[in-house]
């Protein structure tokens, strides 16, 4: 009997193992790669190991010792991996502008020299007298950094190493995070205000009327997100159906600005996320015994009172899990704000995408992504507690 259980268990394990390996390699590892990208900073120390060892003793006063110069020359002569060298140059140039041209002149000269012991960096370029460049070099040496995670919340380390706020006009990550939360909250409220009565209405109806109401929720869910976003683009644009209709009935003279602003983003996101609100509320209401309302009324409560004291409190769990779900999905939204929003409506996902694909600044993209992932994880955990089935409905 025991051997049988064991065999069954190892059989089950064998079946699960392929997915487990696949998910570990292609899901967990990439997430881990993103997290480490935010903290690992070894582009420079990998290429210039001798300089790293030698510059540690430099105290930041004056030009570093002759030994550090020698180490740098040796490192630059030994650096054959063009890609790694390019990474290092980019990293240094972002710390001290001008480093790219400085190294652009230094590297060929150092490599061309016949005797490395005779190379004089100051003779190649007088800028090597500038402690700014040596400081950048020293600061780029530790293999781990909190630079990205600080930059993600608009902070940095000053020359003395203490954490200070970034200049107000230099960075806007906090603003964008606040905006992300604000837009997500607006969408959640809009979905709740529409979704709660809609779900109640659907639950109170029977037959084809209920089917129509539910179909209207499920059909968009089955339609491609790109199609829905393109459709809102068509409806909201200045010559779009909505503006045309409003002008035709004489409500407005000139087109209302509905697209490339906050309003357009909120309208389209509400449309996309409304099913995630309606379906949980609907399933909760269906579980409420129908005779409760009539019982309340038979005991003298008016319809409003019966609604307020009986139906509404009982449907709150659905409202709560729907709201959590909508909010959680909304903060990570990318496509709709990217296509329907203006420059001032971009949410955190757009910024992450910009750093990752636009400037290949994976460190900062990773740090911002880590924050988004953290908030989502917290919300999902709360959602899992409140909802009996921790699955995305309609999936």
């Amino acid at each position: 009997m025991k051997a049988g259980v064991l065999r069954e268990r190892s059989g089950a394990l064998l079946l699960v193992l392929p997915v487990l390996v696949f998910m570990a390699v292609f899901f967990l590892w990439p997430l881990w790669a993103m997290v480490t990208a935010a903290f690992v900073d070894d582009a420079v120390s990998k290429v210039l190991p001798r300089t790293a060892a030698s510059i540690v003793s430099w105290n930041g006063q004056g030009v570093p010792s002759e030994a550090a110069h020698k180490a740098l020359v040796q490192d630059l002569r030994a650096a054959t991996d063009e890609q790694a060298l390019g990474e290092a140059v980019r990293r240094l140039n972002s710390a001290a502008s001008g480093f790219r041209t400085l190294l652009g002149r230094t590297i060929p000269a150092v490599k061309a020299a016949s005797d490395p012991a005779q190379v004089d960096l100051l003779a190649i370029d007088p800028r090597w007298k500038d402690t700014r460049f040596w400081m950048a070099l020293k600061e780029a040496m530790p293999p781990y950094t909190d630079r990205n995670i600080l930059a993600a919340v608009d902070m940095k380390r000053d020359a003395s190493g203490s954490i200070v706020l970034e200049a107000a006009d230099a960075s806007a990550h906090r603003l964008i995070m606040l905006r992300t939360l604000l837009v997500a909250a607006m969408v959640t409220i809009a979905c709740a205000v529409i979704g709660l009565p809609y779900a109640m209405l659907a639950a109170s109806l029977t037959g084809w009327k209920r089917s129509v109401l539910l179909l209207a929720v499920v059909l968009p869910l089955w339609t491609s997100l790109l199609v829905r976003t393109a459709a809102w683009f068509i409806l909201l644009q200045n010559e779009g159906l909505i503006n045309r209709a409003l002008q035709a009935i004489g409500l407005i003279d000139s087109p209302l600005p509905l697209i490339f602003n906050r309003l357009g983003v909120v309208i389209a996101m509400t449309h996309v996320l409304l099913p995630f609100m309606v379906l949980p509320i609907y399933s909760v209401i269906l579980g409420i015994p129908r005779n409760l309302m009539s019982a309340a009324q038979s005991m003298g409560a008016g319809p409003v009172r019966a609604f307020w004291r009986v139906l509404l409190p009982l449907s709150l769990p659905g409202l709560l899990s729907g709201s959590l779900l909508v909010f959680m999905v909304a903060i990570g939204y990318y496509i709709t704000p990217a296509l329907l929003g203006g420059a001032n409506d971009q949410m955190i996902s757009s910024v992450i995408a910009f750093y990752a694909t636009g400037t290949a600044n994976w460190g900062l993209a990773g740090a911002l992504g880590l924050m988004l992932l953290g908030v989502t994880t917290v919300l999902y955990t709360i959602y899992g507690r409140f909802s009996t089935s921790p699955q995305v409905p309609g999936a």
Binding site: F27, P220, S224, V227, F233, P303, Y334, A353
Partner: protein, 267 residues
């Protein structure tokens, strides 16, 4: 009075939900170069553009290649995992299930950044295999949800009956369990394909210009230079997903009916 408000509200929201989908479709047949109403005349011009212009045609082919690849990966892996998690003998099954469903929850952009860094290191960035793997990660949860539901609907007494009549475990699986689970597997595969078809964000991060999918091409077209080809592509996608959705619903309905027939007391 209250009734009238209810009816108006219901109709208004139904219109809000459905209007965008129906508004875009006729524009696939406009003759104008602008993507708006009124339609001056109907023509097949943009449908023609969609099927002949290089960027669009390649993107359709890419969507089919990548969608099929991701579907095969996700269906095989997801079905195996569902079978393994079914018996209940595995320790920490709840944790495993949560892990397998996580790709639905993690923001696409976050997964995209990680996937990009990881695939570049592996040398799989901007390759078909890389995009297929990335899509498969997103599709696996849908397969697991669907197949697990189908397996849950199977009455264990049928399998017990088969083995008490002398069928060895392999025969029980092949002749009883698998045929009953097949509708769930197929609808899982359909969900997987539809997910891959509609995926943009991961594709944005991991695909090169040669792996542009239809959804990705629509994204850049809306962003850069919107024209009625987008509506034609939308029509194609809607017809595609509606066919897939109809098929999945049909299968689910048949599954429910067969479950009713085999175990009337369970429902």
């Amino acid at each position: 009075m209250f009734r009238a408000i209810q009816i108006t509200f219901g109709i208004a929201i139904v219109v809000f939900l459905l209007m965008p989908i129906f508004a875009i479709l006729p524009l696939a047949f406009t003759s104008s170069v602008f993507l708006n109403y009124p339609i001056p005349a109907y023509s097949m011009r943009w449908m023609h553009e969609l099927t002949t212009a290089d960027v669009w045609r390649t993107s359709i082919v890419n969507s089919l290649i990548i969608g099929s690849g991701a579907t095969v990966f996700a269906t095989v892996l997801g079905t195996l995992a569902s079978l393994g998690m079914r018996s209940g003998t595995l320790p920490m099954v709840g944790l495993l299930r949560t892990l397998f469903l996580l790709p639905m929850v993690v923001p696409a952009v976050v997964l995209g950044v990680g996937m990009q860094i990881f695939l570049v290191r592996l040398g799989l960035a901007s390759t078909y295999l890389g995009v297929i793997i990335a899509h498969a990660v997103l599709c696996i949860p849908f397969v697991i949800v669907s197949v697990s539901a189908a397996l849950q609907g199977i009455d264990p007494s049928i399998e017990r009956a088969a083995s008490s009549l002398g069928a060895p475990p392999v025969t029980v699986f092949r002749r009883v369990t698998l045929p009953l689970a097949i509708p769930g597997v197929v609808s899982g595969a359909i969900f997987a394909f539809a997910t891959s078809l509609d995926e943009v964000v991961l594709t944005l991060f991991v695909a090169g210009p040669n792996q542009r999918t239809l959804a990705r091409q629509m994204f850049s077209s809306i962003r850069e230079n919107i024209n009625p080809t987008v509506a034609a592509a939308a029509l194609l996608l809607i017809i595609g997903t509606l066919c897939l959705g109809g098929l999945a619903t049909l299968l689910r309905w048949r599954q429910k009916r067969s479950a009713l027939e085999t175990a009337p007391s369970a429902i």
